[in-house]
Each structure stands twice: as C-alpha cells, then as structure tokens.
C-alpha cells in the first residue's frame, strides 16, 4: 500500500498557533503506521493554522485549526478508516484547501511549493532542474531570458531584473557577489518569510543561476535575525545543496564555483536600501552611501554586486524552466509574472495572495479576501508599507502594477496590502508610519533625520486637536521637501503616507483641525465617551472598570465625568449592552 503523506504547516504562524505540538503528537502516534509526517511551510492562510493535510489515494484532505486533542481522531478516523472529520474539514471546498476561494483564485508560482513540500528535504524540491538547464545555457542567453520575462524587482522600486543582471555581468572585476535581500522590513509584509520558510531552495537555486550568469563566485543572503525559522531552514537548505554539489566547487561538473553564506540582519529597516544592506553585510553601520558608484560596479567589499530580493529570486527557476514567454504571458505589457501580497488589516481573509501583476485591487479584496471584516465599509488600502501610500475606495478598480500605483501616489513596495475600513483614521495611519520612519531613519541626512520627526510632531498635534490650517500647508511643504532632498530611498519615500492620505482624505485632516473631531473615532483626545441611558442597565460594570473613577452613579443610571475621563476605553470595551458610545 502506498505510504500516506501527512503535512503539517510549520511556518512561524503555524508554530505560533500550536502546530508544533500537533506535529510531535502525530509523529509519536503514527510510528507504527505506514505514514510519513512532513513539515511544510506556510500556505498563506494563517487563520486556518494549524493546518494538517493528508495525501491519501490521490486525494488531499485538509484539516484546519487542528489541536493536539484532534490527533487521535485524525489517526483513527481518517488515516485508518478514510472517514472525514467534519468539524475539522473545509466542507464547502470539498475538503481540499486548494478549493478555498482564497487560494483558488490565486496564481501561485512563487508560493507554489509553500505548504506543499518539506522545505528541509531537498529531494522534495526536485533536482535543481533550472540550474541544470541554466548551466548548459550561454550566460547571455540566461540574462536574455530574464530580460524577456519582464521580471521587475519585487522588493521596492521595481527595477528591471534583467537589466540589473546585465550591468553586473558587464562590470569588470575578478570577484563579484550575488546578494539576496531577505531583510523583509515592511511592517505587514511577510511573503519573503513564507518563501524562505516554505521553499528555501528556490532562492538558493536562483542565486546560483544568477552567480553563473553574471560571473560571481560568492553570494550572501542577508536575512533578518527576527526570522529564526527562516534562518534555520536556509542553513539546512544550504548544507543540503552543498552535499548535492549544487553549491561549492565545480558545480555539476560545469567548472563553475559558487559559495553561499548567510548574513544576519540585526534590525534596521534602512538595510533594505541596497547600499545600506551592503554596508551591513560588511559588518558596518547600515548607512546608505553615495551612488555612483552603483553596486553593479562597486558593491560588497567594493566588488560588482548583484542584489535582488527573495521574491524576485524565487521567480528565476521557473523562468528558466518554462521560458520567458510563458512567464510574461502573466502580468502586464511592462511587467511579467505575479506579485505576492500580504493581505491584512480589516479584511475577512488575511494571508498571502499571489496574483498576476495587473490584477484589480477589487478582486484581491473582495473575491480573494472575502471583503471587509464585520461587513464594514472599505475605506482604503495601504500598499508599499511605510514607503507607500493609500488607495482610496474610489480607486478600487486600479490594476495593481508598478506604474499604476506610482501614478496614484503609492507604490508596489514589497507587497504589504493593509485594508482599512470606516473605523480607521487616516491621520492616525499616517502618524503611525511617520513614527516608524522616525525610528528607522538612519540619521545620516538632515531632511530624513529631523524632517520626519517634525512631520510626526505636526501629525501628532493634529490628532490631538491642536492643529491649525497652516499646519496642513506646512505638512505638505515639509513632506515634499523630505521627498525631494533626502539622501536615500528611505527618506525620499518616508512621507508618502502623509502626502497620499492628504491627497485622498484631506477632509479627514480638516475635521481634526477645524471641527476637532476624528471621524473614525480613533484619536483619543478628540473622543468623548457617553452613556446611552436608554441602553444602560445600570449594572455598574463600567464604573468598576474605570481606572480613574470617572464614572459615577446618578439616580439609577451611570454618568461619565468628562473632566476625569482619560479616554482609555475600558468602559466601552467592557459594557455588555453597548450602552457606551463614542462621540
């Protein structure tokens, strides 16, 4: 009888949901059975974790939100008796996660293996076929393929990958480097982590191919220390690739040598900037340096360096295998392939979404994401993380590609896609991102170092009801100044969240300033809590929870003493009768 394959999603999110305990229990209790328990990466629907999938007789049965106590049942009922456990299964989807609307509408190239194969087993990745093919190709032919694929950098600015490769190839130098930017720093984006945890070999294979094409013999993967699992899986994968002779000397008897090392980032968002990243690889402060010379001429240790990010590299093997024509049939005229978005915020289905470049935002939010959580109204989507901006509801039909997003004042960035609803205050969002920019600015240049702080302070003032109309003009001028005169990309984009929210939600800013009101009822200082006497049952729970004793009993009902209230929201959160209202 065929051996049954059981996979457990053991990405960071799975582990955090308790998947490791499930995995251990399954392993222990199936010792005597003809069963193979396999750890796989994150499939991208984190709310289903822990996910256990059983591959049996050509079927794939997906169980979601599995806990330790379910393990016995799974073994007895499903493994031994082919019985589906209703309570764990995805009923409407025919028990198979691939039929889940969230996955079904995706086009998974980069994420194809994530959640399917064991990332710690090189055999499941399958033979480095693209590398074998590439080593038989002419170097220029490889670069030509990458160019023709219209692949653009998935990390931020969207530079054409093929052009980058040919620049590095054309640079003179005995020693060249290939670097992978795995310092995923945009808050809200985690596709790179998913790829590294779920399919690390795709990145390693791509880097070897890149090394061969541009003439580099050494590579670095600069990965965040905050991703311990990704680091671990990369280490395992590199070791396995070495033992299979995909890395090292005379790779597959081609005469080509390539070594790969990990460098752990120590926590600095600015290290996503290429020259800062290179400084950090060399072990220095991650401050961006002057360009020119560009990394393609003088990068790591002053040698020509190719730098791409994780998702960009993960596209390479399939381009080599299936050809550029296949690849660029997906996407738009100017930009081939897919993009992975990390869909989060006030949306029903959160997780990773891979769709062809040019897919409409609406499709991502409603068809894949299932719409806004709690059926509230869609307000805007924030893309590009702290460097990006927002897409308001009026532009929900925008086709998500590099140029369209840039045109409407935001950017693709690394693919963070945070959905906001009517309860989100756009001034507060801008303030959050500026706070991030202030703390992540390297401090080298004046506009970014001091300017972002001043912008943050103006926003803070506005959210506290102390803003003036002149502040708005100031905000606009200063934001544009920082954009125009900062040293590096981080500073040049740091105020995008402000400019973009001001562009589409100016009235919200004005409400804060003129009416001293936060329409989304988020900004504490502009809020008033009130007790609706009709709904109040006088249970006294609010008064009990109030940390400053601002709620007092008058007659039969309770009242909030505004002079004492610190607007902590404790009463609001604790009232069982929705009798506390925000104003």
């Amino acid at each position: 009888m065929e051996r049954i394959r059981i996979t457990v999603g053991l990405g960071s999110c799975g582990i955090a949901s308790g998947a490791k305990i499930v995995y251990e229990a399954l392993k222990e209790k199936t010792q005597k059975l003809n069963v193979q328990i396999v750890k796989v990466g994150c499939i991208g629907i984190c709310r289903y974790e822990p996910i256990v999938e059983i591959y049996k007789d050509g079927n794939r049965i997906t169980y979601i939100n599995v806990s330790e106590k379910d393990v016995e049942d799974i073994i007895e009922k499903t493994i031994k008796n082919n019985e589906i456990i209703e309570s764990l299964s995805l009923k409407e989807e025919n028990n198979n996660i691939l039929n889940d609307p969230f996955l079904k509408r995706q086009t998974r190239i980069v994420l194809e293996n994530c959640g399917k194969i064991n990332p710690e087993n090189i055999d499941e990745y399958g033979g480095y076929k693209a590398l074998r093919k590439a080593l038989k190709m002419d170097k220029d032919e490889i670069i030509h393929e990458v160019k023709e694929s219209k692949l653009r950098g998935r990390g931020g600015a969207g530079f054409k990958t093929g052009d980058k490769w040919s620049l590095v190839k054309a640079s003179a130098g005995d020693k060249k480097y290939v670097c992978c930017n795995a310092d995923e720093g945009d808050p809200g984006a985690f596709m790179d982590r998913a790829i590294l945890e779920g399919d690390p070999h795709s990145v390693i294979e791509a880097m070897i191919i890149a090394g061969y094409a541009v003439g580099a013999s050494e590579g670095f993967i600069y990965v965040r220390e905050e991703y311990p699992l990704a680091v671990e899986r990369l280490k395992v994968a590199i070791k396995q690739a070495q033992s299979k002779k995909y890395l090292g000397k005379n790779i597959l008897n081609s005469g080509f040598n390539f070594n790969l090392e990990l460098r752990l980032g120590a926590g600095a968002f600015v290290c996503g900037e290429e020259t800062a990243l290179m400084a950090s690889i060399e072990g220095k402060r991650g401050e961006p340096r002057l360009r020119p010379p560009y990394p393609a001429e003088k990068g790591v240790y002053n040698s020509p360096t190719l730098l791409n990010n994780v998702e960009t590299f993960a596209n390479i093997p399939i381009i080599i295998l299936n050809g550029s024509a296949w690849f660029n049939s997906l996407g738009t005229d100017k930009s081939g392939g897919t993009k992975v978005f990390a869909l989060g915020g006030k949306i029903k289905n959160t997780g990773l979404v891979e769709v062809p470049i040019g897919t409409e935002l609406k499709e991502i939010i409603y068809d894949i994401g299932g719409g806004i959580a709690n059926d509230k109204k869609f307000k805007a989507a924030q893309t590009g993380g702290p460097s990006g901006g927002c897409i308001p509801a009026s532009l929900i039909n925008v086709k998500m590609d590099y140029d369209n997003l840039k045109e409407i004042g935001t950017m693709m960035g690394s693919g963070g896609l945070i959905v906001t609803d009517e309860d989100t205050c756009m001034v507060d969002i801008a303030k959050f991102f500026l706070d991030f920019a202030v703390s992540e600015s390297c401090g080298k240049c004046t506009p970014c170092r001091i300017g972002t702080k001043r912008v943050y302070e103006i926003l803070d003032k506005i959210t506290k009801g102390k803003g003036t109309i002149e502040d708005l003009e100031n905000l606009d001028n200063l934001s544009k100044h920082i954009q125009a005169t900062s040293f590096c990309g981080l500073g040049q984009t740091a105020t995008n969240p402000v400019l973009s929210t001001m562009r589409y939600f100016k009235e919200e800013y004005i409400s804060h300033i003129v009416e001293k009101k936060c329409p989304a009822k988020v900004c504490k200082d502009l809020l008033k809590y009130k007790i609706n006497k009709e709904l109040c049952k006088a249970c006294g729970l609010c008064a009990k929870n109030c940390p400053v004793n601002a709620i007092i009993k008058t007659d039969d009902k309770y009242e909030i003493d505004e002079s004492k209230c610190i607007k902590c929201g404790a009463c609001f959160n604790n009232c069982h009768f929705k009798a506390i209202e925000k104003e």
Binding site: A16, S17, G185, E226, G267, R285, G286, G351
Partner: protein
C-alpha cells in the same frame, strides 16, 4: 570568559556576526566583552559600539531570563499591541527596555515579527503568542515561573 570570544572571532565573518554571537552568551552587550573584542580585532571600541548601537537587535541593558517582545508592526499596532505592552508594564512594574529586579522578565517592543495574521502578537523567548487579549497577559506570564 574571553576564550569564548576568541572562538567567536575565529568563526565569524563580520563584526555584526560577532556581536550577535556575543549577545547570545550574555543576553546583552557590555563594556568588558566589547573592550576585549576591540583589543583582539585591533579596532577602536567606539567603532564597535557605534555599529552596535545602530541596530535594534543589540541591547545594552540586562535581559531577563524570559524576554518578552511585543510586536509593534502595523497590523499588531492597529489591533492594539500597545495596550498589551502597557498591561505588561503594569503587571511587572517595568518600562519598555527594562528588566525586572529579580532578572526574570525583560520587556521590549519589536519590529514586525511577520505573524501579522495573528495580530496582536507577543513573544516570550522563542514562544509566539497570537491573538493575545489584554486579559490573557497575566495568565501567559504565569506560565513562566
């Protein structure tokens, strides 16, 4: 004590890597260690210190046996992770970046841990807790005794 550092120097490729390994030993970076490193590397101590202070990943405060990290990534922030941090501060009577007097817990906020779909997220050593509610904090901390 410094034998460990000799080993680290031998087996590391960059200063940051050395610092990361040294921090693994003690939980934080302190003068004697880095001074020894600077002498061994024939590098100015300030150059080392300057590099270390650039990165969030390095700490110069003592860390607790259990290191609590509260994610302040966008999603976690929106979902109220700041309240978690405040709650822990209240319970343990320490501020962000500090360590309890008995050396048991230390509290830090951190950049996005990449577990956005489980926001808000907190981490204690290597254990990640998702969908944490303010009310659960006490219970979670009680596990570490």
């Amino acid at each position: 004590m410094n034998k460990e550092i000799d080993e680290i120097i031998k087996n590391s490729e960059s200063l940051i890597e050395m610092l990361q390994k040294i921090q693994k030993i003690d939980g934080y970076l302190y003068f004697e260690r880095l001074f020894y490193l600077s002498e061994k590397l024939d590098m100015s101590l300030e150059d080392i210190y300057s590099t270390a202070t650039f990165y969030n990943g390095f700490s110069f405060n003592m860390k607790g046996k259990y290191q609590i990290n509260i994610c302040l990534g966008t999603v976690c922030y929106v979902k109220g992770s700041k309240e978690l941090s405040e709650e822990i501060s209240k319970i343990l009577n320490i501020k962000d970046g500090e360590c309890t007097k008995d050396g048991k817990f230390s509290l830090d906020t951190t950049r996005c841990l990449g577990c956005c779909s489980m926001a808000p997220v907190m981490k204690i050593n290597d254990d990640i807790y998702g969908f944490v509610k303010k009310e659960q904090v006490k219970e979670i901390l009680a596990k570490y005794n």
